[in-house]
């Protein structure tokens, strides 16, 4: 709101001065027409009041214009000053021309050469004189505006000196006049100094170079016209004859002719100063325009490249911009997908049929196909193979530029720019189009990087989802089984694996312990693991033992999962408070068993689930029955543990686990797990974990022994809870 109020105040201020000027003018005209017939001697009341009114008119106008122009300059923001000056020059020259013609006409028709004035003649003289003064003030402020708007500090200072210097000359002339001093050198000298100052000040004409060709042409014509008009006007002001312009000005305000003449002279000098650079800039104008449009096109293209990940839009824009910056009459962009035919991605001022027609010439096809760097074919006539294309009265093309587009090192497309004339392109076309090609390569690389990062993000999310599914599929809590101490452990790798373990209570109260691994990794593995869990739960109520369970799982899954997918699965069935256990193994890692004081690797024969049809699978699957003593233990694990490598590529193997089982410290399932993990970490050192590590240990505690959680010392309890939640 505030700037608007300020603007309104300023407008009111200068409107007030305009009003003062107009009232003064009207009063003077009336006063003069009354007094002109009676008396016009220098000291008369009529002449003095008339002079005061005239000065009031001039001063009012001067201040009003000054405030108005200053406001304009304040509001102006840098950028288009060249255009503003051009518009200003156009306006002031037009006004001056009209005033000049109209004034001359009025003077010739209505005035005579007599020194006495009629009432009507005085009105005409007053109006014409006032108008001439108005033009003079207007022109002075045009130069003031033109210099101020450049915003160059030195120029601004000079222009202020200029504006007020003119005022000083005026005062000096007036003083001379009224002191009856006909030969007043002060005014002439100051005018001369100001002219020099003006010439120095208007040296900066760089803005002319930035005008468009159209504007430069306009400036040349305007400044030439302006020069003649202002010079004529100026000369007229310094001439003393009845029809000369000095007469009405002198009539209006004695002594003002000089100031009008000086203003007009300034304008003449200024327009002359504009004329020459504009004229010189004209021949290069179209080149400068082209360069400007190239720069803006490249800027635009770069902006698009930076912002666009939409490849089609990029190609569309490329074709459009290529037409803008070169002397082309048509263009298209084609792409070579890794699989399939050449496709025309976008075309301008040419159609698919015409492109196909061009390609019907094998020489053309070869030319496009074999071009590896941006190439200019100046004329088809020079190549006898291509000449037939240009042999028509209105050919599609007589010259062309080929810009191959690369993604990395592979050529993925080409931009083809045509001209219907031979030698229609020049070297700068080649340069700018070549830089287009480079930019597009960068854009393609960007687009690819963005695509990759998006897909990477998606994969990360998939892995997250798969891991959540997997976590839910593993037992959230280990059931307590009387007579047994059981502890599982699972350490996931960054990549989702298919490790599975479970404890399932069967119909007869026995418990089946599973340890398994789905082949492959990632989302598919997690998916099959979910399927396996479903099958295991569904079969739990109808199986009779470890072997039976695995056979039924295979019978259900075989043929229903992908051929290359299989599941390795170990199953131990235990009975609460009973030392008898049964073991079966479907292609999984062996059982490591501590029994009767010794340790052994137990490997019953068996195929992976899903590898063979039930007849073969069932026939090959063995089941072992073991009788445990109190303190005997069994260890189940996945290959993520036994194949955990160290920096020397050596697998962890079974031996360290057997060592743990042998050691007398292995008195609880939790301790066994802890010791094995300690051992595997020591083995692996800094070598990264690639696969999930899952294992489970159980110890037979004897008939009626309390469950494992109560049997553990208090400080171990929290860690057991942790492992249950993994």
């Amino acid at each position: 709101m505030e700037p608007e109020i300020q603007n309104a105040q300023i407008r009111n201020n200068y409107l007030l001065f305009y009003v003062v000027a107009i009232i003064s003018l009207c009063l003077k005209i009336v006063l003069d027409s009354i007094f002109v017939l009676a008396d016009r001697s220098p000291a008369s009341f009529g002449l003095i009041s008339s002079t005061i009114l005239a000065i009031s008119f001039v001063t009012g106008l001067f201040i009003a214009r000054f405030v108005q122009i200053s406001t304009l300059i304040l509001q102006h923001r840098a950028g288009n000053s060249g255009k503003l000056i051009l518009d200003g020059a156009g306006r002031i020259i037009l006004i001056t021309l009209i005033v000049l013609l109209a004034g001359s006409l009025l003077l010739v028709i209505f005035t005579d050469n007599n020194t006495s004035y009629g009432m009507f003649e005085s009105i005409i003289l007053n109006i014409v004189g006032a108008t001439f003064l108005y033009v003079a003030i207007e022109s002075i402020f045009f130069i003031y505006f033109a210099l101020q708007i450049r915003r160059h500090e030195k120029t601004k200072k000079f222009s202020r000196i200029l504006a007020f210097g003119t005022l000083v000359i005026y005062v000096l002339v007036l003083l001379g006049k009224y002191a009856q001093d006909t030969n007043n050198p002060l005014a002439g000298i100051s005018a001369f100094i100001l002219c020099i100052l003006l010439l120095l000040t208007i040296g900066r004409t760089k803005w002319i170079a930035l005008l468009t060709k159209q504007e430069k042409k306009k400036l040349v014509w305007l400044s030439a016209l302006g020069f003649f008009v202002f010079t004529f006007f100026s000369v007229q002001c310094f001439t003393e004859s009845a029809t000369a312009y000095s007469r009405p000005i002198e009539f209006f305000l004695s002594g003002s002719a000089t100031i009008v003449g000086v203003s007009m002279m300034f304008c003449a000098i200024y327009t002359a100063r504009l004329f020459f650079p504009a004229l010189v800039a004209l021949p290069t104008a179209s080149a400068v325009d082209r360069r400007n449009s190239e720069v803006s096109s490249l800027t635009h293209l770069n902006k698009i490249i930076a912002e666009t990940i939409d490849f089609d839009m990029l190609i569309e824009n490329l074709t459009q911009r290529a037409l803008e910056v070169s002397r082309a009459t048509g263009a298209w962009c084609e792409l070579y997908p890794s699989s399939g035919e050449r496709t025309i991605a976008s075309y301008k001022f040419i159609n698919q049929d015409q492109i196909d027609w061009l390609y019907s010439y094998s020489a053309f096809d070869q030319l496009i196909g074999q071009t590896t760097v941006t190439t200019l074919i100046e004329s088809f006539d020079e190549d006898k193979n291509l000449a037939p294309i240009a042999s028509f009265p209105k050919p599609i093309a007589r010259s062309l530029i080929i810009v191959p587009l690369y993604e990395g090192l592979s050529k993925i497309g080409a931009l083809i720019v045509l001209n219907t004339q031979s030698f229609g392109f020049e070297n700068d076309d080649l340069n700018v189009l070549s830089s287009f090609g480079d930019n597009i390569s960068v854009a393609l690389k960007n687009a690819r990087l963005i695509r990759e990062s998006i897909s990477h993000e998606r994969i990360q999310q998939e892995i997250q989802v798969a891991r959540q599914i997997q976590d839910k599929l593993l037992p959230q809590k280990i059931p307590t089984i009387s007579g047994y101490d059981i502890a599982p452990y699972s350490l996931p790798a960054t990549e989702v694996g298919g490790d599975y373990y479970d404890l399932i209570t069967l119909r007869d109260g026995k418990v089946a312990i599973f340890m398994g691994d789905v082949s492959g990794k990632g989302v598919p593995a997690a998916f099959y693991m979910a399927e396996l869990k479903g099958v295991v739960l569904a079969l739990a109520q109808e199986v009779r033992g470890a072997r039976d369970f695995l056979c039924k799982i295979n019978a259900t899954l075989f043929g229903n999962i992908e051929k290359q997918t299989y599941i390795t699965l170990s199953c131990v069935v235990i009975e609460p408070n009973s030392p008898k256990i049964s073991l079966a193994r479907a292609g999984h890692m062996p059982f490591l068993v501590k029994q009767h004081g010794g340790v052994s690797v137990v490997t019953p024969r068996g195929l992976g689930v899903g590898l063979a049809k039930p007849e073969i699978f069932d026939a090959l699957l063995e089941e072992y029955f073991l009788d445990l003593e109190v303190g005997d233990a069994c260890f189940l694990f996945t290959d993520g543990l036994s194949e955990r490598q160290n920096l020397q590529d050596k697998d962890f193997g079974y031996e360290p686990i057997l060592d743990v089982l042998r050691s007398p410290s292995a008195e609880s399932a939790k301790t066994i797990i802890k010791e094995v993990m300690k051992s595997v970490e020591y083995h692996a050192g800094t070598c990264a974990q690639h696969d999930d590590m899952t294992c489970l240990a159980f110890i037979y505690r004897g008939n009626g022994a309390i469950n494992q959680i109560k049997s553990l010392p208090p400080n171990d309890r929290t860690s057991v809870d942790e492992s249950e939640n993994v």
């Binding site: 691994d517 082949s519 492959g520 051929k563 299989y566 063979a612």
Partner: protein, 117 residues
């Protein structure tokens, strides 16, 4: 491991095709072997030897590849025979029960002899 190179070398021994696989066969490189086997089966070459002499590692996904085409080639009287496995690689096959499903032999000659029978 996934960065390590995996290559397949094609050899022809009469009507028998031999794929000599080298390097690491895991979830990332398995599709290469699968397409190589698939091409042979499509061409009607159903007597295939896969030579493991220079294979250093095989993962569960790598093992699965052999299951994809085994039924197809056996239906037409062909077979996929696995030859010259390093002990470590054999252990993986053995645990899974592969020796009960595939013929795993000493070397190419043994495989050719088996085909001749």
């Amino acid at each position: 491991m996934s960065e390590t190179k995996f290559t397949i070398e094609h050899q022809s021994i009469g009507e028998i095709k031999c794929l000599k696989i080298q390097g690491y066969l895991d979830a990332h490189t398995a599709p290469q072997l699968e397409s190589a086997l698939g091409n042979l089966v499509e061409e009607g070459k159903h007597k295939i030897i896969v030579n493991f002499s220079e294979l250093d590692y095989i993962s569960s996904a790598g093992l699965g590849v052999f299951m994809v085409y085994i039924e197809d080639v056996r239906e037409t009287g062909g077979d996929i025979k696995l030859a010259e496995m390093k002990p470590k690689v054999f252990t993986v096959f053995d645990l899974l029960g592969f020796p009960m499903l595939f013929e795993i032999v000493e070397n190419n000659q043994a495989a050719i002899a088996k085909f001749a029978n």
